[in-house]
């Protein structure tokens, strides 16, 4: 694991973070639930909690889909290439490339479209950046930089957990191991209310 220069992190008095969505994207509850599931991966191993707010203005983490040049100096490049980016704490800006073919649910590996990208896979990775993690050379880690199309990787590896717990400490309920969950089971439970 790695950190951003200076090891920025959310301050100790901000452990209960809120996230909001760009209203113009008009995301469905099903799509928002994917992000909720992604946040839970990180809250399961840290003392951090994440809750959705309707106010993008006051949200700690601001999530939006954008195309091309969207004003932050890091333009998106169309289908594939760069998929998303996120800023280090306490910026909270989380941008996804609107031109990608995002798969919200279902087995992305069975998609007939070569450019299909699993939304939750990318969301879990970018949340790592929002919390202060940089990229990792460990291929199994969520924070590995490349995110291949038609693949799904949403479980934190030991490398990710060690990194994030170095920044924030452990969740008191964390028992030291991640709970393996099959893709089918995850999909069935991630479509509900946030």
């Amino acid at each position: 694991y790695s950190f951003f220069p200076g090891t920025p992190r959310w301050p100790a008095n901000r452990r209960d973070l809120t996230y909001g969505f760009l209203p113009g994207n008009e995301l469905t509850d099903e799509i928002k639930a994917v992000f909720s599931s992604a946040f839970q991966k990180w809250s399961a191993v840290t003392p951090l909690t994440f809750s959705q707010t309707d106010s993008l203005l006051t949200a700690d983490i601001k999530i939006g889909f954008y195309s091309g040049d969207h004003g932050d100096g890091e333009p998106f490049d169309g289908v594939l290439g760069t998929l998303a980016h996120a800023f280090s704490p306490p910026s909270g800006r989380f941008h996804l490339d609107a031109d990608e073919n995002w798969i919200v649910s279902g087995d992305v590996m069975r998609s007939a479209v070569p450019s299909a990208v699993d939304l939750e896979t990318v969301a879990v990775h970018e949340i790592g950046h929002l919390l202060g993690l940089g990229h990792s050379s460990v291929e199994d880690a969520i924070m590995y930089p490349t995110i291949t199309s038609r693949t799904r990787k949403v479980e934190l590896a030991n490398d990710d957990i060690e990194g994030i717990q170095w920044l924030y400490g452990s969740n008191p309920n964390y028992n030291g191991s991640t709970t393996p969950t099959s893709t089918t089971e995850e999909r069935e439970t991630s479509g509900g209310e946030i």
Binding site: E74, L80, A84, S115, G134, H135
Partner: protein, 132 residues
Amino acid sequence: SLFPNITANPPWLHPNATFLAPWDAFIKFAGCHSGETRHGLSKLKHYFSNFGYIPITAPNFSDDFDDELEKALKTYQQNFNLNVTGQLDDQTLQQIVKPRCGNADIVNGTTSMNSGKSPSFHTTGHFHTTGH
């Protein structure tokens, strides 16, 4: 394009349709080595610059396979657990063209990915041991 499930792909997304992703053109540089000049190599330098491997020192990059590009390649290969050859071999190019996160691997010249670790580790990918 947000698809609720994998069967919701629109008809214009034909499974067999071929399209060129932004970095696919880099594949043509396979075998290119230090000292060569190839049209478009400047775009590869921009790629490495975007992800922190080459500092932006000039407004435009040249199409020369220079020392700066070779150094960037070696660092990249270390970070991605590839053979550190400093050359545009197939294995490295296949890694480069993969879709990825837009955040840089190296920020302000520093990284704790493999290339930022001790030389004895990152040059070989494992510790040297001697049986006693």
